[in-house]
């Protein structure tokens, strides 16, 4: 319901409620006109209004009484959670109560810890967090991380977790008790780092690392507890919190990083910071900061502004007992084997630098990972030089990126599903050109880098480029600490270059650092900030991190409009990039609007014929293609092609890209022969201009292969796919495109019915995708779906189910349950479960699907109709025709509205008829079955399976009805 419609209903209700029955009818028919739904709604409200003695008229107190009586009678000891019986309460935090408990049926009576969420904290967001924690921990198996054993919901509806019960001392107390030396402390600390790093690799940030969460056992092994506030690295856009508790993030101030107290996004860098605090404490016996009061303002100001003192210098401040503030803190631990003077010497230099690097205010200036921190400590322990050092050399400018623009520009941003062909956007080409422009200003630094480290020519160019970028990135970090503006520019450029190699994580790291640096040095509103924000947004788009991308691109657009006015090429650029993002999010309406705005603006700025105009035309064609508006897409692609040819000549890489896209549109319109011709042209052009080894060649080969596959030319298609695959393997390595190629090749085997071979390629593609993206990315999910479909065909149903579920879970987490892609995942799973006959699970999934679709889709909707049909089929199969009927009917109502859906309509009718037969409502069943049978006979042959099924249902009806002659008549037809 929209607020506007609701307002209209309210107005009518108020007026109508005052009228007598007969006046009311006249009033409503006048006011509602043809809007029958509106009238029904208002009349229903009036009827409800006249009812009294409803729940809403009884004081809620009655129910409350019962609750309190029940709750008051539950003391902790002896309380049960599933098979566990509580022994005693051992802890109580802001959000949870911790008990020890034993499992009754366990002969060893092993103790466990149960963490029960507190009443009052069980907001939806919090419960969601608990669920997630459970999910995460279940997958997090590491000797230094406390195991999650079980979890559930208590009788009174509170979620709880059952965890390994650890006996041990907090790490600081342990170090003191056993008098560990500095080196021993460092080694112990590194074991903790290994566990945290393991969690990070699994996309889990701890968020609340502190001594009381790190217990050391008698055996000297550290165990990390309480991933209670751990959250997946990727944000969860589906999580909506009540407005009143938005932004609440649990934390412990002493160990909280600046970004944490400010409520900004928390990343692995926040754990690096907390580990820095811990290390500080283990080495010096003090924490880096103390707070005068516990007010949020004081805490924020200290953490965000005050620089910590070097560890070596605070040793001199002993003894802490003289410090008045010290009372507020528990006594912290200091290495007990050394006199202060000796300890100061030990800490001065490397250890000072390492600790302070971990404690940097800006996340990006800390260690890039916990592993790096740990590695630096190892170097220190072994007497090697450490990274944490501030040394500055000079730098010189280079034209490296400019010279290598095409060599580096793998232009491989689009992942291909099994069915879709490759559709190269001009978007990458535009990046490449922006890159060339930027590179002209890039400093000597890169030339120096390039000249001094030019490797043997035997190495492929792309590998060289990547190596160079790695070195460049490392040297920026080392050498340009005090030149923020140059640093920012280089980071921006190198970040872009990385993105073209498909190394999005590295690209994103550098670009976000560039954004921050520019914000600080150029001021938040400077156009250069928008440049980096825009670049980062584009990279996040490629990473599938859509919500972040959207935010950045929108901010960049707003900033540019503010600073540059409405009519500026850069505003058009942002519009274009935002449009491309919406395309990836499959929000095609919005994408089209944005791209049309970009197009109009570019025509104003550059005139009707300009490369920028051609690029945006190309992207717009892409959107229209996705909307199945092929004719329009073809016209725009053709226009872009003509424009490129005119401006750039016939032989230019951009011409080839556009040819490729036009061919793809033709392919979609099933003009395959024409498409094949254009693909071959594009391919010839690219090989001539760029050489056989260029990644663009691989794209076109792959598209051509897709087309040939559609034409049944499986052998040539396979050959081309294999060549393209080899090329990509050789040049790009682990790249989204490699996964795409493997997927495509798998598709050949699917087409040949060789599912075992297809499975092998799908699995390889999946491994590549996981390598590139980690576990969480829409591409991984897409891949899992493909694999699942194949597994179902090979008969490995258990594995298929697992893949369907995992795909759903990943996309759900990334995009939220209501995203169209996630709904599609759920649909696939539900339908699979139905096919497999797992009716219980299928019912649950279909119900959720229907509920979500009701929320998100405008009813009637084909997807909803289909889901309702699925649900009713499940219910019918489960022998619950009474429950199936309303869902069948609702589905049928929808199908009736679309004339082209005769097949679905007839099928649903036939099923509903069968359902009614089971309910012994034969007279209602008969017309439905007769009508659907007639539809099938008219559109299909008499021997078509659907027609036969329809006849079968008619036979079933007449037999059950006790009309054997009619049954026999239809049976005779079946025999024909």
């Amino acid at each position: 319901m929209t607020p506007e419609r609701w307002q209209r209903i309210k107005d009518l209700f108020e007026q109508a409620a005052e009228l007598q029955d007969d006046e009311r009818a006249a009033f409503l028919s006048r006011e509602c006109g043809g809007d029958a739904d509106l009238r029904v709604e208002v009349e229903a409200l009036i009827k409800s209004d006249e009812q009294d003695g409803t729940l809403l008229d009884t004081p809620v107190a009655d129910v409350l009484e019962g609750i309190l009586a029940a709750e008051a009678a539950t003391p902790a000891a002896g309380r049960r959670f599933g098979p566990y019986r509580v022994e005693r309460e051992i802890g109580r935090g802001g959000m949870a109560v911790i008990y020890t408990a034993v499992r009754d049926d366990d002969q060893y009576r092993k103790q466990v810890a149960i963490k029960l969420i507190k009443r009052g904290m069980d907001t939806d967001a919090m419960v969601a967090r608990f669920r997630r924690e459970r999910q995460i921990l279940a997958n997090l198996e590491h000797p230094s991380i406390a195991r999650l054993l079980d979890g559930g919901v208590s009788d009174d509806g509170l979620p709880y977790l059952v965890m390994e019960h650890i006996e041990g001392l907090p790490i600081d107390a342990y170090c003191d008790r056993y008098g560990l030396s500095t080196d021993e402390r460092l080694r112990l600390f590194r074991t903790v780092c290994a566990a945290v790093h393991f969690a990070h690799r699994n996309l889990v940030v701890h968020r609340d690392l502190k001594p009381s969460n790190i217990l050391v056992t008698e055996a000297g092994e550290p165990k990390l507890l309480d991933f209670g506030i751990a959250k997946l690295l990727t944000p969860d856009p589906g999580e909506t919190q009540p407005a009143t508790v938005a932004g609440v993030q649990p934390m412990t101030p002493e160990y909280a990083s600046p970004e944490q107290v400010r409520g900004e996004p928390i990343t692995t860098a926040s754990d690096v910071y907390a580990l820095g605090v811990l290390l500080y404490q283990l080495l010096t016996g003090r924490r880096p900061f103390r707070f005068g009061s516990r007010s949020p303002r004081e805490i924020e100001s200290v953490i965000c502004k005050r620089e910590p003192e070097k560890p070596s210098t605070v040793i001199a401040l002993d003894p802490p007992a003289l410090d008045l503030e010290a009372e507020a803190e528990p006594p912290a631990s200091a290495p007990s084997d050394r006199a202060p003077a000796k300890l100061r010497r030990k800490l001065r230099g490397d250890l000072d630098n390492i600790v302070l690097k971990a404690l940097k205010k800006e996340p990006e200036r800390r260690y890039g990972s916990v592993e790096q921190l740990s590695e630096d400590l190892r170097r220190h322990l072994e007497g090697l030089p450490v990274i944490a050092r501030a040394d500055t050399f000079g730098y010189r400018t280079a034209k490296f990126v400019g010279r290598h623009a095409w060599g580096v520009a793998a232009a491989l941003l689009i992942f291909l599903s099994l069915v879709a062909g490759i559709f190269a956007t001009a978007w990458q080409a535009r990046i490449a050109r922006a890159e060339r422009a930027t590179s002209e200003e890039v400093s000597d630094f890169l030339v120096d880098l390039f000249e001094t480290s030019r490797p043997d020519k035997a190495l492929g160019e792309t590998i060289t480029a990547r190596e160079l970028l790695d070195r460049g990135a490392e040297r920026i970090e080392r050498e340009l600490g005090d030149e923020p503006a140059v640093r920012a520019r280089l980071m921006d450029s190198i970040g872009l270059a990385y993105s073209k190699l498909g190394l999005y994580d590295r690209a994103a790291g550098l670009l976000s650092e560039a954004v921050d640096l520019r914000r600080r040095t150029a001021g938040g509103e400077h156009p250069s900030v928008a440049v980096s924000m825009n670049h980062l947004g584009v990279v996040h788009t490629a990473q599938g991190r859509y919500p972040e991308a959207e935010q950045l691109l929108e901010d960049a657009l707003a900033l540019r409009r503010e600073e540059l006015g409405q009519e500026h090429e850069l505003v058009a650029e942002s519009l274009n990039d935002l449009g491309v993002l919406k395309y990836y999010r499959e929000l095609y309406d919005q994408a089209e609007i944005l791209l049309r705005q970009a197009l109009e603006l570019r025509r104003e700025v550059h005139g009707a014929e300009h490369s920028e105009v051609a690029y945006v035309l190309n992207n717009l064609a892409l959107v229209l293609y996705a909307r199945d508006r092929y004719e329009e897409a073809e016209a725009l692609s053709g226009e872009a092609l003509a424009m490129h040819r005119k401006l750039l000549g016939d032989r230019h890489p951009d011409v080839a890209v556009t040819l490729n896209n036009l061919a793809e549109v033709l392919r979609a319109q099933e003009s395959c022969q024409q498409a094949i011709g254009l693909f071959r042209q594009a391919l010839e052009l690219e090989i001539g201009l760029l050489g056989e080894e260029h990644p663009d060649v691989a794209i076109t080969q792959s598209n051509l292969a897709g087309c040939l596959k559609d034409e049944g030319e499986l052998d040539e298609a396979e050959e081309l796919y294999r060549r393209s695959l080899e090329l990509i393997r050789g040049t790009a390595g682990e790249h989204p495109q490699l996964a795409g190629s493997l997927n495509n090749l798998a598709g050949i085997f699917v087409a040949r019915g060789d599912h075992a071979q297809a499975e092998a390629f799908f699995r390889e593609a999946l491994a590549v995708n996981r390598e590139i993206h980690g576990g969480d990315h829409p591409d991984v999910a897409k891949n899992l779906s493909n694999l699942a479909i194949t597994l179902e065909r090979t008969g490995d149903h258990a594995a298929a189910e697992q893949c369907f579920r995992e795909a759903l879970e990943i996309n759900g987490r990334l995009l939220g349950d209501e995203d169209p892609a996630v709904l599609a995942n759920r649909k696939r799973l539900s339908e699979f479960l139905l096919r497999r006959g797992d009716l219980g699970a299928a019912e649950a999934e279909f119900r959720q699907l229907v509920a979500l679709e009701r929320q998100t889709l405008e009813s009637p909707h084909r997807d909803l109709a289909r889901s309702l049909l699925g649900l009713s089929r499940v219910l019918l199969a489960a022998g619950r025709p009474g429950e199936a009927e309303p869902a069948f009917r609702e589905s049928l109502e929808m199908w009736r509205q679309w004339p082209d859906e005769w097949l679905m309509r007839a099928g649903t009718q036939s099923l509903l008829g069968g359902c009614l037969t089971e309910l012994e409502r034969y007279a209602e069943s008969e017309p439905l079955l007769v009508e659907s049978h007639a539809a099938f006979e008219e559109k299909r042959t008499a021997s078509h399976p659907s027609t036969k099924r329809a006849v079968g249902r008619l036979i079933g009806l007449y037999e059950a009805w006790g009309r054997p002659e009619e049954a026999a008549r239809y049976r005779a037809r079946l025999a024909e």
Binding site: L68, G157, P886
Partner: protein, 193 residues
């Protein structure tokens, strides 16, 4: 931790001045207080009283908040929190009650009219809660009014003051919200389960 009046008052003031973290800390404290009071009603010393959420909320407010330091606006914010908590308390119970009836082994029992009534009420409450969420999605103000009126037990005048509306508006909005919710609940009960 000291959880006396000063703490709660400070948290409330912090929250009212925009510190969202304070609310997270405030909620469990308020909940505990409400719960404690409710329990005392259940025991003999208050046997003669009927339990009224509104009384609970008012008393909790007086107990928890240093009256010299807060203004009326803070007080209404407090009621908003309390009404939310009341809703949650009631709903948790309703859900678990309903879950009891569904899950587990089926045990043959003699017909018990009271139990059936409670069960139905519990189901209705869950339906009400869901309907209220939907209502809030397209008419947040009505959602708040119902929450304050029904779950917080506030009078029309108190709601009006709390939301800075006229009493006529509150009455009008309550009436239509009630009708809509009632219709939704009937619909939920009749829909295929």
């Amino acid at each position: 931790m000291n959880e006396g009046p000063t703490d709660v008052t400070r948290l409330l003031l912090d929250w009212c001045s925009g510190d969202e973290q304070a609310l997270a800390q405030l909620m469990p404290l308020v909940y505990d207080e409400l719960h404690r009071r409710a329990e005392s009603y259940m025991r003999r010393e208050r046997k003669d009283h009927t339990l009224q959420p509104t009384a609970l909320v008012h008393e909790a407010f007086l107990q928890l908040i240093d009256q010299n330091r807060v203004r009326w606006q803070n007080r209404t914010q407090f009621f908003a929190v309390a009404a939310q908590l009341m809703r949650r308390i009631v709903l948790k119970h309703a859900r678990s009650h309903r879950a009891d009836k569904r899950g587990g082994k089926s045990i043959k029992v003699t017909f018990d009219e009271a139990a059936v009534t409670t069960e139905k009420t519990a189901a209705d409450l869950v339906a009400l809660d869901e309907a209220l969420d939907r209502l809030t999605s397209f008419d947040p103000r009505q959602g708040r009014i119902v929450e304050l009126r029904y779950f917080g037990g506030l009078t029309v005048e108190e709601v009006a003051e709390c939301l800075e509306l006229s009493t006529a508006t509150v009455k009008r909005e309550t009436r239509i919200a009630r009708a809509w919710l009632q219709r939704e609940m009937t619909r939920a009960a009749g829909a295929p389960a």
